[in-house]
């Protein structure tokens, strides 16, 4: 048991995360039980906004959002203005040409220089370090054992074909180099895993759990021995596998001791996890699961992926106005297609509505505390894309929602952040979550984004 803690700590240090203050973390949470836990949700969608729509008109510099008007794509977020920090588009410093911002999907939350992997006439990027959700989750794991380090969710990602068929295009969250986190789509499996099966009186069941625990324990050691014979690159592959086994062990231990589990959400039957048409219902199911999981203390970190990096095999049949056109092509409009801007707006407006629903859900859960009334007050929800507009506008739009226990100054459009490296935002997220991080991925870019902290 103690061995893993050392491993995680090493991992955190070894992968470009500057965590010099590690032993001093989270003093406040340790002292006062009355403080509700903080939580983070990272949501990502590809292909950005319709041209000119990522704005809050009427702003100069850091401006009060309450006096601003959102364009159509962001209009669903209007009721939440006082909870939002809209960050002027930031930069991915590793991206040079426009196509890079598609490639940046795999590393837009890691900040480390990627490795380029050729793929026919194109190429993809593989990240070389962990994404911020993993860094925060690993740090939480040092203080507190939860059944899940993270809850990685995604909507159907389309067929694994073409450039969107690569892991680099299909995974936005990574535990480290060569270690993509596979998101979960199936709500039935999630409910079963997270909320069902606590009848621990049954002797046979207890024994089955003991058997599985011993198997996982052996597999973990087996993988360690196996890994010792491998070169560095291959060790990354096995590290992902090992982490997977450890995560399963962790979940088994927590559930086995009866430590969690609240009311499971009710999921409609008959959803097809591969069917694009079921996307809205799948998202609603996943949203319910996420809220219930947070409430039950399953995890403090969740991720939500709304598509692969290009979207060139993905259409959106649940939005008939898009006429069956492919998401990538829609993203590029309206340069060649007069309908393009409207289609893109249709899609992003739908995405924004889903984001607003997530905020609504968090705000519906009361959570009293010194800085909070609802769960949303103790959360930070990130809403980011890999490019400003689908025409490869080379910068990253980031919206933060929730004050995360009073850390964030919300209700503002942070114009001063424009063109600053995205890496600063990772530091803010870490600090908001009481993780003492000075930089992520690039030691030359340190500290938080000025103006974001309350």
């Amino acid at each position: 048991m103690s061995k893993w803690i050392i491993r995680r700590r090493d991992l955190l240090r070894g992968m470009g995360a500057g965590a010099a203050l590690l032993p001093l973390l989270n003093v406040r949470a340790a002292r006062g039980q009355a403080v509700p836990p903080k939580r983070v949700i990272m949501c990502v969608f590809p292909n950005g906004y319709p041209s000119g729509q990522y704005t809050a008109t009427g702003n100069n510099g850091a401006v009060d959002l309450s006096t601003a008007t959102f364009a159509a794509s962001l209009a669903p977020l209007s009721p939440w203005k006082d909870q939002l920090a809209v960050v002027a588009p930031v930069k991915c410093i590793n991206a040079d040409d426009a196509e890079d911002y598609h490639r940046a999907y795999s590393m837009m939350f890691s900040g480390a220089a990627p490795v380029s992997k050729p793929l026919g006439p194109s190429s993809v990027w593989a990240p070389t370090g962990p994404t911020i959700d993993q860094v925060i989750a690993n740090n939480i794991d040092l203080r507190e054992k939860l059944p899940r380090r993270t809850l990685p969710l995604a909507l159907p990602l389309g067929e694994p074909e073409g450039v969107d068929g690569t892991l680099e295009a299909r995974r936005a969250f990574w535990a480290g180099q060569g270690q993509p986190i596979t998101p979960e789509i199936d709500p039935y499996k999630l409910v079963k895993d997270l909320f069902v099966g606590t009848a621990m009186d049954d002797v046979a069941l207890t024994q089955a759990r003991a058997g599985r625990r011993s198997m996982l324990d052996f597999l973990g050691r087996d993988l360690e021995r196996f890994s010792a014979q491998l070169g560095t690159e291959d060790q990354f592959t096995v590290a992902s596998h090992l982490q997977g086994i450890r995560d399963l062990e962790l979940q088994l231990q927590q559930i086995g001791t009866g430590g969690i589990l609240g009311e499971p959400p009710t999921i409609p039957t008959g959803l097809n996890i591969q069917a694009l048409n079921d996307t809205p219902a799948l998202w609603e199911a996943q949203r319910q699961i996420l809220l219930a999981a947070f409430r039950a203390g399953v995890t403090r970190v969740a991720t939500m992926q709304f598509g692969p990096a290009w979207g060139d095999k993905l259409n959106l049949p649940w939005l008939p106005a898009t006429g069956g056109r492919v998401w990538h092509e829609i993203g590029h409009g309206p340069t060649d297609n007069p309908q393009g801007q409207d289609d893109h707006q249709t899609v992003v407006t739908w995405y924004s509505q889903q984001f607003a629903k997530l905020l609504e859900g968090l705000a519906s859960i009361p959570e009293p505390g010194p800085n909070s009334v609802t769960m949303l007050d103790n959360c930070v929800v990130v809403w980011a894309s890999n490019m400003l507009s689908g025409d490869h506008d080379p910068s990253l739009p980031w919206i933060l929602a929730g004050k995360c226990g009073g850390y964030f100054k919300t209700g503002q459009y942070l114009a001063s952040a424009a063109n600053k490296p995205v890496n600063h935002l990772f530091v803010d997220l870490a600090h908001a979550m009481d993780v003492p991080l000075d930089f992520l991925g690039n030691p030359d870019i340190r500290g938080p984004m000025p103006g974001l902290k309350a």
Binding site: P160, M215, G244
Partner: protein, 518 residues
């Protein structure tokens, strides 16, 4: 290997990266190992595209580890008869020491097949200690059930799930290159040639040292390539090389009446085309030129201009000489290499130059915005002519769009047509070749002839299959080895199976560098 010194710096073989078995390989291996025909579960993410240009299994993280644990658990129960057949005792001996002996024997026998190599003593000890642990903690388990649990564990071992090197070799030298040990080579051969684990004769060849010589490898390779299992593997590689998608999920404009069933029929027809080529001449040229089709779907027969044909898998249909030839003019290729927007010449042209001629097309410049539809009232050719007049686009598009015009006789689902909008189809095209020449063709039939006759096509084909055999991207040192393989492929007049034999006897395949080793 005669003639090649793997220690010569320019020929130092490349690394053999650790890959997990693809879902296709997992399924085949389970069949071979447990005699259980079990598709991989939906919960295991599908194979992804790797930098070799072919599929690889997705990296194992939490979700995959759990899916594999559940799946192998079920299979260990279903395949218990085959599992117990690896135990040297039929029923549990009453004596504890004899029981232990039987379990040790099981670990050796089952491990030998599951790990595709002999189990070393340290591993055997570990697995035995796990068995002891099971007996201690799970008192309700009988002897057979305990062995079943042990098998379940072994099926989740990285030694089973990954294409791993020999644990003995890991203790050897740490720089330069090393020849794969016989079992690792047997595995590499078998998974490339058959998509599954070695069969009994191949294990025996490894044990008896017959894979130490080129002749021995050739003999075993030809034996495997004559097995029906190998055809399925060659179909898989072909589909991936050609970029043929899962057409059940293809999105096409409503005017085509495209259905998932038609899409599936197209893919099936391509598989049978590959089979019929392998049953016949077995050459790349015949793949490009064969007009024989096996069609068991009415809509597809109609699409090929034979609406009344009610054939099946066994009745060959000769496609119309003036409309069709081999793989390039078949529905699955044409439909996969099409866009929703009907700008098909771009995609089809790119496919020809990339997959058949291996031209390196530069990436679009910064700020590039691809056109995403054809202006109303213009034929596709006319629209693209205007688009390509754009100086920025013309430099690159000259390399591939012209080849794509050869396919203008085929619409978005590969049906033959003679008019596009108001215009009569002009399928004449000029094809840019790697030697710098530009050659005119009147249509895709002539393009197929041209490609079938030119050595550049075979060389390019060999390049793709070289990457597939090694399951990695190119490194500069591959060049010498690749030339040898191309030479052999030419010498065998483009025989696909002989190309595979040349690949598995190449030093690039039989050796690996130690640079990635610890």
């Amino acid at each position: 290997m005669p003639g090649v010194d793997p220690t010569a710096p320019a020929l130092l073989p490349g690394p053999k990266p650790l890959r997990r078995l693809t879902n296709f390989e997992l399924k085949n291996t389970m069949w071979e190992l447990l005699a259980v025909d079990a598709p991989v579960p939906e919960t295991l993410p599908r194979d992804v595209l790797s930098e070799s240009g072919f599929s690889e299994g997705s990296v194992i993280s939490r979700l995959e580890a759990e899916a594999i644990m559940d799946w192998t658990g079920t299979l260990a129960q279903q395949g218990v008869a085959r599992i117990m057949a690896s135990a040297p005792c039929v029923t549990a001996p009453a004596d504890r020491a004899l029981q232990d002996e039987c379990v040790s024997g099981f670990i050796s026998n089952f491990g030998m097949r599951a790990f595709r190599r002999p189990v070393i003593a340290a591993e055997s000890t570990e697995f035995f200690s796990y068995y002891r642990d099971v007996l201690r903690t799970q008192q309700s388990y009988g002897f057979e059930q305990s062995i079943g649990v042990l098998a379940h564990l072994m099926l989740q071992s990285p030694r089973f799930l990954y294409h791993a090197g020999s644990p003995i070799a890991a203790m050897g030298p740490t720089s330069g290159a090393v020849r794969l040990d016989a079992y690792e080579l047997a595995s590499r051969m078998s998974y490339f040639l058959s998509g599954s684990m070695p069969d009994a004769p191949l294990f025996e060849a490894a044990l008896n040292g017959r894979l130490a010589s080129t002749e021995g490898i050739q003999q075993e390779a030809r034996r495997l390539l004559n097995d029906p299992q190998s055809k399925v593997q060659i179909e898989e590689i072909m589909l991936q090389w050609l970029g043929i998608e899962d057409l059940r999920k293809k999105i096409k404009d409503a005017r085509y009446s495209f259905t998932p069933e038609l899409g599936q029929a197209m893919v099936d027809e391509t598989r049978r085309l590959v089979d019929s080529v392998l049953d016949g001449e077995g050459t790349l040229a015949s793949l490009l030129l064969s007009r024989t089709a096996y069609v068991d779907n009415g809509a597809l027969a109609a699409l090929y201009g034979h609406p009344g044909f009610t054939g099946n898998n066994l009745t060959p249909l000769q496609l119309k000489e003036t409309e069709r030839s081999g793989i390039l003019t078949r529905a699955a290729f044409l439909t996969s290499q099409s866009l929703g927007s009907e700008l098909n010449p771009i995609k089809r042209g790119l496919a020809v130059v990339g997959k058949f001629l291996c031209l390196n097309v530069p990436q679009p410049p910064a700020g590039f915005v691809p056109p995403d539809h054809v202006d109303p009232g213009l034929s596709t050719r006319e629209f693209l002519k205007r688009h390509d007049a754009n100086a920025c686009a013309s430099a690159c598009h000259a390399m591939f769009t012209p080849a794509g015009f050869a396919f203008e006789n085929y619409d978005g689902v590969g049906a033959y047509r003679t008019v596009d909008g108001a215009e009569t189809i002009d399928a004449s095209a000029s094809v840019y070749f790697p030697d710098g020449t530009t050659r005119p063709v009147v249509n895709a039939l002539e393009l197929s002839q041209l490609l079938a006759a030119d050595a550049a096509t075979g060389d390019c084909f060999a390049d793709h299959w070289f990457r597939r055999a090694l399951r990695r991207r190119d490194i500069p040192n591959d060049e010498g080895h690749r030339q040898e393989v191309k030479q052999a492929f030419r010498g065998a007049t483009g025989n696909i199976r002989e190309l595979m034999v040349a690949l598995v006897t190449s030093t690039a395949f039989t050796h690996r560098s130690l640079e990635s080793a610890k």
